[in-house]
Amino acid sequence: MFENLPLFPEQASEQAAQVDALFFFLVAVSAFFAILIAMMVAVFAVKFHRRRQDEVGDAIHGSIPLELFWTFIPLGITMVMFVWGAWLFFHLTRAPKGAMEVYVVGKQWMWKVEHMDGQREINELHVPVGRPVKLIMGSEDVIHSFFIPAFRVKADVIPGRYNTMWFTANAPGRYHIFCTQYCGTKHAAMIGWVTAMEPAGYQAWRSGGGATGGPVENGAKLFQDLACNTCHKEDGSGRGPVLKGLFGKEVQLSSGQTITVDEAYVRESILNPQAKVAAGFQPIMPTFQGLVSEEQVLQLIAYVKSLSGEGSAAPGTSATQAPSPAGGAQPPAPPAKKSGMN
């Protein structure tokens, strides 16, 4: 690589090499066909250059075998690309169980990051190398897109729903975060840095930060402050469903449909409670639209997930447990149910 003329971005995640492998295959195929066509056109144009004013070409009308040849050869090659690309996509979008979860909220024009142990960052994301990290992302306003070129991963961050992406960094360093979905005036300034650190350095960073309680703790506190607990009682005597163990389950709705309790459903139930009421309950829950911020919704979701022992691979998954910033190395996560939009 030249100093000022890099041809390929650095590879800093396990995914990067896989994406580049497919990229090089496609470059090779494309170069072959582009050069082949250019050569043929050039050779024919020179060899059959018109020499007399009234010269005409031969009357060749076509050839079925040739047509089939150049229909099915490209078809076969593109199907290889399709299968490879689809396989890679599955790999890029399915986070492994026990991945370290980090919440990301995009807003015009910054990235707000909250780790499970309460570490918060703006336009910065610290991750350990060698460990899968899963980002759960929402937006407070318009559509953004979270892109780390060095990791070859990207996902849109869309208001009103959650998208996830994951990666395993494998080279310590600082890498760009770009917003790739146009989001207004300072779209180009909605950038940041992801810092991949050796596990030891990462632990040091974590213990040094000003953790203010993880999303689960904050969610639990909100749950009290907003008086959610007066209806969603643990013993089932409240006017709302018991939330313990609910996340990831299928519930019956009053309309007769069933729905899996995932991030999107919990979010909708907080902001638009009347939309899908669980069977056997009155649609009496007030909306919390405007009362809770997008981050707080994420915290409430984290809390609801924790009641099912879901999701978090960080410490303090229960509401009563105190945050332990040094923990998190061992993912105690039970089998993760399918979650969210992806």
Partner: protein, 235 residues
């Protein structure tokens, strides 16, 4: 200009009788049959684009109804089904009078007959728009028009507002088509009064009829989608 074509038509012959071609034959057509076929095909192609135009709205409707079925049911219940059904009947009758008008032109019926059926079609179109205006007024009075003044007493204010957004978008677009249709009918009626149409030349009536039937059919889809959903729940 020399014009050796079999059906040599005079240049720019719009509305100026000349022999031997039909007076309505435009210079670039060979004969009246070709002109009629072109116009009819043109209208069909146009209607295909109209289907896709409404299709975008129907798509939105399907997505949001799927997302909040109960809310849409509740909101739909506030629509006046009697007016809706009446309007459906009015449009079906207008389609009949439209078909009779085309038939009258095709068979070179007296201009009085042609004008009668066309006028009747126009009349039913206006009745439809009148009823629609009554319904819209009612929605304004009850603050069911989406926007800052929207007010909903039921359980599902958000989905209801969305339902009414789509209700006004879809019926509004349909009403615009009805207004255009009535305008077209007015022109066609005037042409019929001038004794323009006979068995050799009735394409404008036919093409206008195609448009009219299309607008009616759109309503035939709108009525159950907007007025009749979930009727068996709340009667």
């Amino acid at each position: 200009m020399p014009d050796g074509h079999a059906h040599a038509a005079p240049l720019d012959a719009h509305g100026h009788p000349h022999e031997p071609a039909h007076p309505k034959l435009q210079h670039h057509f060979d004969d009246m049959g070709q002109r009629a076929e072109a116009s009819t095909l043109g209208m069909w192609v146009f209607l295909v684009t109209e289907i896709l135009f409404f299709g975008g709205l129907f798509m939105c409707y399907l997505v949001y109804r799927w997302k909040s079925p109960s809310g849409f049911q509740e909101a739909s219940f506030e629509l006046n089904r009697v007016w809706g059904a009446t309007n459906t009947a009015v449009l079906i009758i207008s389609s009949l009078t439209m078909a009779l008008a085309v038939r009258a032109a095709q068979t070179s019926a007296k201009r009085g007959t042609q004008v009668f059926f066309l006028g009747l079609t126009m009349f039913f179109g206006l009745v439809f728009l009148g009823i629609k205006a009554i319904e819209y007024t009612d929605k304004f009075v009850h603050h069911h028009v989406p926007g800052p003044h929207f007010h909903w007493d039921g359980q599902y204010p958000k989905p209801a507002e969305q339902f009414y957004s789509l209700y006004f978008a879809m019926t509004g677009l349909h009403a615009v088509h009805m207004i255009v249709g009535v305008g077209i009918m007015a022109v066609i009626t005037w042409m019929a009064w001038r004794e323009t149409f006979d068995e050799d030349y009735y394409t404008p009536v036919e093409v206008a009829g195609l448009y009219w039937h299309f607008v009616d059919i759109v309503w035939i889809f709108l009525f159950p989608l907007l007025y009749l959903i979930g009727g068996h729940f709340k009667g």
